[in-house]
């Protein structure tokens, strides 16, 4: 357990270093993007001052060391794009993203598991075929395209849902009522949950078929147990935890999906901020977002690891 934890922590550190090196290696000129391409609008002295204030006159190693030292003290740097400290930006936007990701995580787990259970139980029938083909179709659909279709169907053609953003115009996310919050979250959560449901459906189906074929289910059937009791005693007990483990391990992909969903739905979360920071070449903000997402993935992997360890230990007992 400790060894896996240490290894995951080592991965976390290496990923952050890799991300920093990649950004430092980028040929895009930070000064140019800071000035919106208006490179000749400033004098040589102003440019030199800017270079030293952005820390570009130091070597990559010096900058990285400086960034790490600041990081240890809890200072993530200053974003030229928003003219705000990175910590404040993340503090403001992370909860919205976490809410979005968490809801989609839960929704895809619950519906995916239920559909997988159904498909496995009715193996080979038309219901199973429909569910399997739908899962395959949904797994192939690009998530941003699905989001666009949902917008043009539900928001534009039927005008049932809002067309963009996380709150009514001129309001902060937390100021609105719960109902309005749900109203704005509906489509993004639906998009994310649909796209990430497929693996869990297919995995649960396989697992359920395995369990139904096993000797102990045969034994319990011979003893006259009803289908419902087989389902609740054996099938769910043996297939729910693996599904949850798989779902924790898929956390990284959910975060990646939220980048696209937030951009399509114009959601002011961490994902859309990350895209804006990337397009504006705002290194400090991009590094902050990368750090947070790496930590999220780290936590997801650690939970999956811990859960599967306890699962194996339970089997041995």
């Amino acid at each position: 357990m400790l060894a896996t934890g240490l290894r995951l922590a080592l991965q976390l550190v290496l990923v952050i270093l890799l991300a920093y090196l990649l950004l430092a290696w980028s040929p895009l000129d930070p000064i140019n993007s800071y000035l919106n391409g208006n490179l000749f609008g400033i004098s040589v002295e102003q440019k030199a001052a800017l270079v030293s204030s952005l820390g570009l006159d130091q070597s990559v190693a010096q900058r990285m060391w400086h960034w790490l030292c600041e990081l240890v003290q809890g200072n993530l740097g200053f974003s030229p794009l928003y003219q705000q400290s990175v910590f404040d930006i993340i503090k403001e936007r992370l909860p919205i993203s976490l809410l979005l990701i968490g809801l989609s995580w839960l929704a895809s787990l619950i519906f995916g598991y239920a559909l997988g259970l159904l498909a496995g139980f009715y193996q080979g029938r038309w219901l199973d075929k429909i569910i399997r083909n739908c899962a395959w179709l949904v797994a192939c659909i690009p998530s941003f395209w699905l989001g666009m279709l949902l917008i043009s169907l539900f928001s534009v053609a039927l005008s049932l849902t809002p067309v963009c953003c996380a709150a009514p115009l001129g309001m902060q996310f937390s100021e609105q009522s719960l109902l309005s919050m749900a109203y704005h979250l509906l489509l993004p959560v639906l998009t994310l949950a649909l796209v990430h449901m497929a693996p869990i459906v297919l995995h649960t189906r396989e697992k359920v078929i395995d369990v139904l074929d096993s000797d102990f289910v045969e034994y319990s059937r011979l003893h006259g147990d009803s289908k419902a009791s087989v389902l609740s005693y054996h099938v769910i007990k043996n297939s729910l935890l693996p599904a949850i483990v798989l779902h924790f391990a898929g956390f990284a992909e959910l975060f990646g999906g939220s980048i696209l969903a937030e951009t399509v739905f114009n959601f002011p979360g961490l994902g859309s901020t990350l895209v804006k920071a990337g397009l504006a070449n705002d290194t400090a903000l991009l590094m902050g977002c990368t750090l947070i997402s790496a930590i999220l993935v780290f936590v997801g992997n650690l939970s999956a690891n811990g859960l599967s360890k306890s699962l194996l230990a339970g089997d041995k007992r």
Partner: protein, 276 residues
């Protein structure tokens, strides 16, 4: 592998895909001609996919975009597969190399895929070669892991141990006794990577990190369409995306059929790996 193509559906679908590519390549119109008199037309017989806000025929544009996506995606996947094979072979050298390769795979897999793509695209300065490098350098880990386990299983097999003990050079042993078993897995892995690469490429371009919007590519077409979504021009998003989705579905169907054939096939004594 031949068995997979003997199935009528797989054969038909492959021919359909091929026909689509040939049609896209030979299509006379480049889709760049403006005709402001018929702008924003919904789909009709004259314009199968309708026209956009400058009166360009969306069908020609989508076909050319698909062709461009296939070209870039194919190049990127070929690079990515080569990296995977090289690293998997490197992992066979000794314990330290194996540890390093495993760590590298884990590190690359512990960032969200899309975020890694964005970072790589920025590092290579965007544009077409940036996009290709980003896709190539971010899609290898899963295939590498699969190939590594596959090779490990072969290296533990008695016939491979014997071949090594007969004193042939390590390179010959790998070439004659390992590669023939791994190559089918590798090729199928490449086919399976292809739809992923196309989706990620479109996503990256959609976000603005990839290709120039002037050249038609799937992501660029869709990202421009998203600006016209609220004015009710649904066909700008639906039609090119539908074309992309159809090719993705065909590709993934072919890849799945290949995997199934490979698992059942007589020539692989090692069980086929699981792609998630």
């Amino acid at each position: 592998m031949r068995k997979a193509f003997a199935q009528p559906t797989v054969l038909t679908l492959s021919l359909c895909l091929l026909a689509l590519i040939v049609l896209a390549g030979l299509w006379p119109s480049s889709g760049a001609e403006l005709s402001l008199l018929d702008k924003n037309l919904p789909p009709s017989l004259n314009h199968l996919f309708g026209t956009d806000w400058l009166g360009r025929d969306l069908f020609s544009r989508s076909l050319k975009a698909l062709l461009a996506s296939f070209y870039t995606g194919g190049l990127a996947v070929a690079l990515s597969c080569s990296i995977a094979l090289l690293l998997a072979m490197l992992a066979q050298v000794n314990c330290a190399a194996r540890w390093c390769v495993d760590l590298l795979v884990d590190v690359f897999m512990s960032l969200p895929h899309l975020l890694l793509l964005i970072l790589l695209a920025l590092a290579f300065g965007g544009a077409q070669h940036g996009l290709i490098m980003a896709i190539a350098l971010s899609h290898w880990p899963r295939l590498t892991r699969l190939l590594r386990f596959e090779m490990q299983a072969i290296a533990n097999a008695p016939y491979f141990q014997l071949a090594k003990q007969f004193g042939q050079s390590p390179l010959t042993v790998i070439r004659r006794h390992m590669l023939p078993h791994v190559i089918p897995q590798w090729l199928v892995g490449g086919v399976l990577l292809f739809p992923h690469a196309l989706t990620h490429m479109a996503a990256l371009t959609f976000l603005g990190f990839g290709l120039d919007p002037v050249n038609p590519s799937m992501g660029a077409l869709l990202s421009q369409a998203s600006q016209y979504l609220l004015t009710g021009h649904w066909w700008l998003a639906l039609c090119p995306g539908g074309l992309l989705l159809i090719s993705l579905l065909i590709l993934s169907y072919i890849a799945n059929a290949l995997i199934t054939a490979l698992r059942r096939g007589p020539q692989t004594h090692v069980s086929g790996g699981e792609f998630a």
